[in-house]
């Protein structure tokens, strides 16, 4: 399978600020890629370069087999992070205009627009002006604008921001549908568990650099679980006795659950057997690392010496804006 997007040591600066540094990337056709990273990591800049809205200072880039997206814009659907509509235009007219701009034939375009509006439950606002729509409704209209021309490559920059849980689920289903129709989908988000719930491949960007590029499964395998959560049958703190079990580094009681950290190289399954043998257990599970954990581990890794608490706070600050929406996504 050929690659929908390829980037080779792409670099982009704005004045003295380096926005993207040496990004290598190949996104195969038909895959569903998530770009994650905190705000200001360089996700939007990377996406804008893929879209040929910005041009890299150095490095090579190819999109759908062409030197730049300029030549294949009509095969790409794009939902920018900075998105808007013509306020005074009617919803259906706006979508028709966008469809025509993307090279669609006027014939058959109107039923198609109406069909899409129905699918996102907006059929009744087709004749309303865009300015009369709520922000969430506008976002759905913009999503339609990006998929109306049935693109081979769909790029969505922060598609979920500002959506309520119901619409978030609707959009997630639509994205999944695009993916299962064989389209390449790239989407970015700073809310990591959104990526976790949708993507099969994650690209993590931090301070303009790619720090991770792997499938979700491989990431979980690689950042193997070093943590076990255990609920004992007898209440009370059993940390000390647990810590004495072979392979356990230390244990901590938190909200009635013992969080157990394993020593390096210890097989978690064997450790679990030993733990069950040592205490009466109500429940025990391997705590799978979240992308957030992975992210924190990467940026606080050997080379960076960053403070994990600080990084977590940074991620949290980025998510603050979408706090209300998060519940629906998980």
């Amino acid at each position: 399978m050929s690659d929908a997007v390829q980037m080779n040591s792409v670099r982009k600066t704005f004045g003295r600020k380096v926005a993207v540094e040496g990004i290598d990337l190949s996104i195969p056709e038909g895959s569903l890629y998530g770009f994650i990273g905190p705000n200001g990591a360089g996700k939007t800049t990377t996406i804008r370069m893929i879209m040929s809205i910005l041009f890299p200072d150095s490095g090579a880039l190819s999109v759908l087999g062409k030197k730049s997206a300029v030549e294949s814009k009509d095969r790409i659907g794009y939902l920018p992070e900075e998105r808007g509509v013509y306020k005074k235009m009617k919803v259906a007219a706006f979508l028709t205009h966008m469809g025509r701009l993307k090279g669609l034939d006027a014939r058959g375009l109107k039923p198609k627009v109406m069909d899409w509006l129905e699918r996102v439950e907006l059929a009744d606002v087709a004749k309303k002006k865009c300015e009369e729509l709520s922000k969430g409704m506008q976002q759905k209209v913009q999503f339609i604008a990006s998929v109306l021309h049935e693109p081979d490559l769909l790029i969505l920059d922060e598609p979920f921001s500002g959506l309520d849980p119901v619409n978030m689920r609707l959009l997630r289903d639509l994205i999944n549908e695009q993916h299962s129709n064989g389209r390449t989908v790239i989407f970015s988000t700073h809310v990591m568990h959104q990526a976790e719930s949708i993507c099969d491949h994650i690209v993590m960007i931090h301070q303009g650099r790619k720090v991770l590029d792997d499938t979700l499964g491989d990431i979980r395998a690689r950042f193997d679980p070093r943590r076990i959560h255990m609920e004992t049958a007898e209440s009370g703190d059993h940390s000390e006795s647990i810590a004495r079990v072979d392979g356990v580094d230390h244990a901590l009681l938190k909200d009635g659950v013992h969080e157990i950290a394993l020593r390096d190289g210890v097989d978690p399954h064997e450790a679990m057997t030993r733990l069950i043998g040592a205490t009466r257990v109500n429940s025990i599970e391997i705590k799978r690392p979240t992308l957030e954990d992975v992210f924190v581990r990467i940026v606080t890794g050997d080379e960076n010496h960053a403070d994990p608490a600080l990084v977590r706070a940074q991620i949290l600050a980025g998510e603050q804006g979408d706090e209300g929406a998060e519940g629906g996504a998980s």
Partner: protein, 470 residues
């Protein structure tokens, strides 16, 4: 550059600007209503003419010599003759300033107007030398209140005129002449009052000439100097001296038309660009077309708006000129040149507007960057008088070669009675073309960078930085 996309952008730009209530009302309906109102007002003015006054004028002529003259002056034949004479003079005057055909046309309409108006009917009655003016004034009052019924319309007392005994003949050689006093019934027609006043004054003057032994005919002869059309000597021979309307009206109309058409298109280009940017719709658009396609489409779309205005207004103007038989002053070549200079002026202004619109975040920020552009648009107004007075002076010629004011100066020169030589027309078009290319190129660079720049409002320094960057 994808022509299809450019045409889509241009199409939307045009429809969303020109096919709106505001634009249609502002640009089309208001001028149309005004154009329709002018003849309507003329018709109303003619039809609203009050019926001519009829009635009696009492003259208490203490001098004993003015009354007879007045009777003659106020006779229907005399009144009609005087009106015909006035019409002839108006026609002569208009022929003088607007050409023969127009003069004839105006004579025709004046004659028509004169035929429509009825002549007032006066019965001039001399009172007894010892009559009481107060008594006649009392009669007028009684007629108004209805105390005194008016049997015959001619019985209505319109005025009473008291002429001094020494009005036409001095009592003593070293004293001045006497005068007269007129009392009028209220709500008389303006012209009735005028006729009566004129009658008294004219009659008194006639009597004074006679009494002083001066021949009236001789004086008229002395005063009248026949006017012949002045000629201008040119290289080829002679021609009629340029008339006022041709030297001033046509260039000023052309200039204003050009400014309206370019400014309308330019202004809309600025607002729609700012709108797209502040609505954040711009990046959605950029996913479908390149910044160059977007800018070209927008400029072409607003060009269509400006040209429609130019087309509509200029055809109205040409129709008006034809109606007044002044079509000699415009030619197809001149109209074509106006359009060429419109294109050049528009593209220059459009490049400024596109650059400014893409650079700022809202209309308010645009103001500071717009100031120099607006000042530049004012310059042609300051140049109007000197250029129109002498279209081929050094000032006119030099300023014709300075873009972006060049098209405005040239339009005044081209539509003047003394158009510039062809080489200057060709050369200025060339200079402007170069300027258009340079301005559009610079604007494109700013446009590309500016569209996605949000935040701090830019100044000229940042604009130059962007030009270097792109």
């Amino acid at each position: 550059m994808n022509l299809w996309k450019i045409s889509r952008v241009a199409g939307r730009e045009f429809t969303s600007t020109a096919i709106t209530k505001g634009f249609i009302i502002g640009a089309l309906v208001i001028p149309a209503v005004m154009a329709a109102l002018i003849p309507l007002i003329a018709i109303l003015a003619a039809s609203a003419q009050p019926p001519a006054d009829k009635g009696t004028i009492y003259v208490l002529d203490r001098s004993g010599e003015v009354y007879d003259e007045m009777v003659g002056y106020l006779s229907p034949d005399e009144i009609r003759a005087r009106r015909a004479e006035t019409a002839r003079r108006v026609a002569e005057f208009s022929t003088g300033i607007m050409g023969k055909a127009a003069g004839e046309r105006i004579t025709g309409s004046v004659d028509q107007a004169a035929a429509m108006v009825t002549i007032p009917e006066f019965r001039v009655v001399e009172t007894a030398p010892d009559a009481d003016v107060e008594e006649i004034k009392g009669d007028i009052r009684k007629q108004i209140t209805g105390e005194l019924a008016i049997q015959d319309p001619m019985d209505k007392v319109l005025a009473v005129v008291e002429v001094d005994a020494d009005a036409a003949t001095k009592a003593n050689a070293d004293e001045g002449y006497g005068s007269y006093q007129a009392f009028f019934r209220p709500k008389l027609n303006e012209e009735t009052v005028g006729e009566i006043e004129d009658a008294v004054r004219w009659s008194i003057r006639e009597r004074r000439y006679d009494n002083a032994g001066i021949d009236r005919g001789q004086i008229n002869e002395i005063f009248s100097v026949a006017k012949r059309d002045s000629k201008e000597i040119t290289e080829e021979g002679e021609r009629d001296e340029s008339s006022g309307i041709a030297t001033f009206l046509i260039p000023v109309v052309s200039l204003v038309l050009l400014i309206i058409a370019t400014m309308t298109g330019g202004q809309y280009l600025l607002t729609t660009t700012i709108e797209e940017k502040s609505n954040r719709v711009v990046e959605v658009l950029l996913s479908a077309c390149s910044p160059m396609e977007l800018m070209t489409g927008k400029i072409v779309g607003q060009l269509m708006v400006g040209s429609s205005l130019l087309l509509i207004y200029s055809s109205l103007g040409v129709t008006a000129l034809i109606a007044f038989a002044l079509a000699d002053f415009v030619s197809v070549g001149m109209l074509a040149l106006i359009f060429v200079y419109f294109l050049l002026a528009y593209f220059m202004l459009a490049s400024f507007m596109a650059a400014i619109g893409s650079a700022v975040n809202d209309m308010r920020e645009a103001q500071s960057l717009m100031t120099p552009v607006m000042l530049m648009m004012m310059i042609p107004y300051f140049f109007f008088m000197p250029v129109v007075r002498s279209p081929n002076s050094t000032l006119s010629t030099v300023s014709s070669f300075i873009p972006p004011i060049s098209p405005f100066i040239m339009i005044m020169r081209v539509s003047s009675t003394d158009p510039p030589p062809a080489w200057q027309i060709a050369a200025t078009i060339g200079v402007n073309l170069v300027a258009v290319v340079v301005f559009l190129w610079l604007a494109a660079k700013i446009f590309r960078v500016g569209l996605l720049m949000f935040g701090k409002p830019p100044n000229f320094k940042t604009l130059i930085k962007w030009i270097r960057m792109a």
